[in-house]
C-alpha cells in the first residue's frame, strides 16, 4: 500500500493540518518511505495472536460516584485564546 498525493491531502485534512500543494508533494515520498518500512510487519504470522491490550497485567479500577471536581471556571478559562462571559469563543459555527 502506498499513498498518493490525494491520499496525503486526505490524511492532512483528517488530521486538521493545513498543507500546501508543495508540502503534499514532498510528503508523498516521505510517508511512503516510512509506510514501506513498517509494512514488513505483514511478514509476521499472527494467526491466533491477540492484539496487546494491557502491557502490564492490571485491572481497570472504577471510582465512586461522588462530585469531587469542577467549580473552577477561572482555571479552566485561564489559558483560553478567546473567552467571554464564562464561555470559550470560537469562530461562528453553522450547523
Amino acid at each position: 500500500m502506498s499513498v498518493d498525493k490525494q491520499t496525503v491531502q486526505k490524511i492532512a485534512s483528517l488530521s486538521r493540518i493545513a498543507i500546501t500543494d508543495a508540502e503534499a508533494d514532498a510528503l508523498v515520498p516521505e510517508l511512503n518511505n516510512i509506510l514501506g518500512w513498517v509494512e514488513q510487519l505483514g511478514e509476521v504470522d499472527c494467526k491466533d495472536v491477540e492484539p496487546m491490550t494491557a502491557v502490564i497485567p492490571n485491572k481497570l479500577r472504577l471510582r465512586e460516584d461522588a462530585v469531587t471536581d469542577g467549580d473552577m471556571r477561572d482555571k479552566i478559562l485561564k489559558n483560553a485564546p478567546a473567552a467571554e462571559h464564562g464561555f470559550f469563543g470560537v469562530p461562528k459555527v453553522i450547523e
Binding site: 485534512s13 491490550t53 473552577m72 470559550f88 469563543g89 470560537v90 461562528k92
Partner: protein
C-alpha cells in the same frame, strides 16, 4: 400488529418503511463518566468542568462505577447479554464541543449485547398486540459540550458543563415499520429506564434523545439506503421525522433519484429534516482502543448485585396486576406505564390487609377520578395533592357504606382543595350517608303525598316512574340517603 401495517402509497405502488433507533440516554449519576465534576442540569457555563473535561494536557480518564452499574442494570432489564469483558474506544473527530478531539465510547466490545424490548400498539390490551423490538447493543460513552450560536455576531460560545456526562447509547435492530411502533418503542424504553432508575427520561432537557434511522423499500425487497436524523428529542418528533423522511425518500426514489447515506437534522418548526453540512471525511472516526484505559472486566458478584437491585419491571408488574390483583387489562396497562403511578397505586394498596379486595375499585378510581383531576390541574402523580393514604381513607368510606360513590366525588373535590382527610370532610359537612329506614320512610311518605297523581299513575302500570320517586327522595335527602335502602323501601311502599 397486522391491522396497523404502515404503507406509503407511491406512484409506483406501495412502499414500506424500515426504522431503527439509537437512543442516547443520560445515565443518572452525581458525577461525570470519567471525571468528578457534577452532572447537575442548568448550572452557570463552564462551572461543572474539571481539568479532565476540558482536556487539559496530561489529563486522564478514570471511570465512574455507578455509570457502569446503571448500564449493566439497564441491560439486565431488557434481558440482554452482559459482556463481562468490554473496552473503551476513542472515536476521533474535531468539533468545538469535543475538547479531547475524540469521544470515549465503546465500538468493538460494548458492555451490553443483544436484548429486546416488548412494545404494543394497543394500550387497552398490550398482550393482544405485542411485538418484540431487538436491541443490538448498549454501550457507554461521553456526552459532548454545548455550542451557542446566537450570543455573538461572529463567535459561537462553548460551554463544557455537559461534556463528559455519561450516556448509554441503546441501539435497536431495524425492527420497526411504522411511526406508531417507533413511538411505542421510545415510550416503552423510557418507562423501563425510569423503572430501573438509570435515566430520568427527561426528553425536554435532553437526557433522552434519539437518532432516527429510516429507509424505505418495496415490500419483500432488500433493505434500502438509510438516513440518520440526529438528536430528536420527543416522541412526537420521532414520529414526524419518520413520516417526513419516508415520504421524502419515496419521492426521491420515484423521481429516479438515489438516497444518500447521510446525517440529517430535524427542524421542529417546519416538521422537516435537512441534510447536515456534510464533511467528506465525517465518517472516518479512526476508532481504536483508548490506551489510557484498561479493559473493563466485570465480576459475577457485581452483575449479581445489579440484578438483585432491579425493581419489578413494567411487564412483570402488569401481568401481576392482571393475574393476581384481578385488574382489567386496561387498568393494569395504565397503572404500570409509569413507575411512579404503580408505586402510588401500591402505596394505596399497602394500607389494606387484603389488597386484592380493594385493588379493582382503587384502580378504577385512580384511572378515572384521580387522573381526571390531575389532568385538569396539570399535575403529575408525584405532585398529587392527595396522598395514597388519603385516597385509601376515601375509598374505605365508600366501601363500608359511609358515603355513596356520588358523595365520594364531592368529598374528593374538597380534599383536593383543602388537603383535608375524607372522614373529616364527611363529618364536618354532614355528608354521611343515611341508612336509617325510619328517616327514609318518613321522607318517602312526604314525597308520595306531594305527588299523589304520580303514585296513581305508577300503580296504574307506569313502571318507569320508579326512577322519578328515587330521584325525588334522594333530592329531598340531599343525596345522603343510601340508594340501596331507598330503592328497597320505595319498592315496598309503592307496590303495596
Amino acid at each position: 400488529m397486522t391491522e396497523s401495517t404502515y404503507r406509503i402509497q407511491g406512484a409506483t405502488g406501495e412502499w414500506e418503511v424500515v426504522i431503527g433507533l439509537e437512543v442516547h440516554a443520560q445515565v443518572t449519576s452525581n458525577a461525570k463518566l470519567f471525571s468528578g465534576a457534577s452532572t447537575e442540569f442548568g448550572a452557570e457555563p463552564n462551572t461543572q468542568v474539571s481539568l479532565v473535561d476540558a482536556a487539559m494536557p496530561g489529563m486522564l480518564p478514570v471511570p465512574n462505577k455507578e455509570c457502569v452499574r446503571q448500564a449493566v442494570r439497564t441491560g439486565l432489564a431488557i434481558n440482554a447479554q452482559i459482556n463481562k469483558y468490554s473496552r473503551f474506544d476513542r472515536k476521533n473527530y474535531f468539533y468545538a464541543d469535543l475538547p479531547q478531539g475524540y469521544q470515549i465510547s465503546q465500538l468493538y466490545h460494548p458492555i451490553v449485547g443483544e436484548g429486546e424490548v416488548q412494545i404494543s400498539l394497543d394500550e387497552k390490551d398490550p398482550d393482544a398486540h405485542g411485538k418484540a423490538i431487538g436491541i443490538e447493543r448498549i454501550h457507554i460513552e461521553q456526552d459532548a459540550g454545548k455550542l451557542m450560536h446566537d450570543q455573538h455576531p461572529t463567535m459561537s460560545y462553548v460551554d463544557l458543563n455537559r461534556c463528559g456526562v455519561a450516556l448509554m447509547e441503546i441501539v435497536s435492530r431495524p425492527d420497526m415499520t411504522s411511526p406508531k411502533e417507533a413511538g411505542a418503542y421510545v415510550k416503552k424504553l423510557r418507562s423501563i429506564l425510569r423503572y430501573v432508575g438509570s435515566c430520568d427520561g427527561n426528553m425536554e432537557q435532553g437526557s433522552m434523545r434519539a437518532d432516527v434511522n429510516v429507509s424505505v423499500r418495496k415490500p419483500g425487497e432488500e433493505l434500502g439506503i438509510r438516513t440518520e436524523t440526529k438528536n430528536v428529542n420527543s416522541v412526537r418528533f420521532v414520529q414526524q421525522v419518520i413520516e417526513y423522511e419516508a415520504q421524502r425518500q419515496v419521492d426521491v426514489l420515484e423521481s429516479g433519484g438515489e438516497i444518500v447515506q447521510e446525517t440529517r437534522l430535524f427542524d421542529p418548526d417546519k416538521g422537516e429534516t435537512r441534510s447536515m453540512r456534510s464533511k467528506e471525511d465525517a465518517h472516518d472516526y479512526r476508532y481504536f482502543p483508548d490506551p489510557d484505559l484498561l479493559p473493563l472486566e466485570l465480576e459475577d458478584d457485581f452483575i449479581f448485585d445489579c440484578k438483585a437491585s432491579l425493581p419489578e419491571l413494567p411487564d412483570e408488574k402488569r401481568a401481576r396486576y392482571k393475574n393476581v390483583l384481578g385488574l382489567s387489562a386496561y387498568n393494569a396497562a395504565v397503572l404500570t406505564a409509569e413507575h411512579e403511578t404503580a408505586l402510588w397505586f401500591e402505596k394505596l394498596l399497602d394500607t389494606s390487609n387484603e389488597p386484592e379486595k380493594i385493588a379493582s375499585s382503587a384502580a378504577n378510581w385512580m384511572t378515572s377520578e384521580l387522573f381526571g383531576a390531575l389532568n385538569k390541574m396539570g399535575l403529575t402523580i408525584t405532585e398529587s395533592p392527595v396522598t395514597p393514604e388519603q385516597a385509601a381513607e376515601l375509598l374505605g368510606l365508600v366501601a363500608d357504606g359511609t358515603i355513596s360513590g356520588k358523595i365520594a366525588k364531592q368529598v374528593f373535590e374538597i380534599m383536593l382543595e383543602t388537603g383535608d382527610g375524607a372522614a373529616k370532610i364527611v363529618e364536618e359537612k354532614g355528608l354521611k350517608q343515611e341508612s336509617d329506614t325510619g328517616a327514609i320512610e318518613k321522607v318517602i311518605a312526604e314525597v308520595m303525598q306531594a305527588n299523589a297523581d304520580k303514585v296513581e299513575e305508577y300503580r296504574g302500570g307506569k313502571d318507569k316512574l320508579f326512577g322519578f320517586f328515587v330521584g325525588q327522595t334522594m333530592k329531598a335527602m340531599q343525596g345522603k340517603a343510601n340508594p340501596q335502602v331507598v330503592n328497597e323501601l320505595l319498592k315496598k311502599t309503592l307496590d303495596n
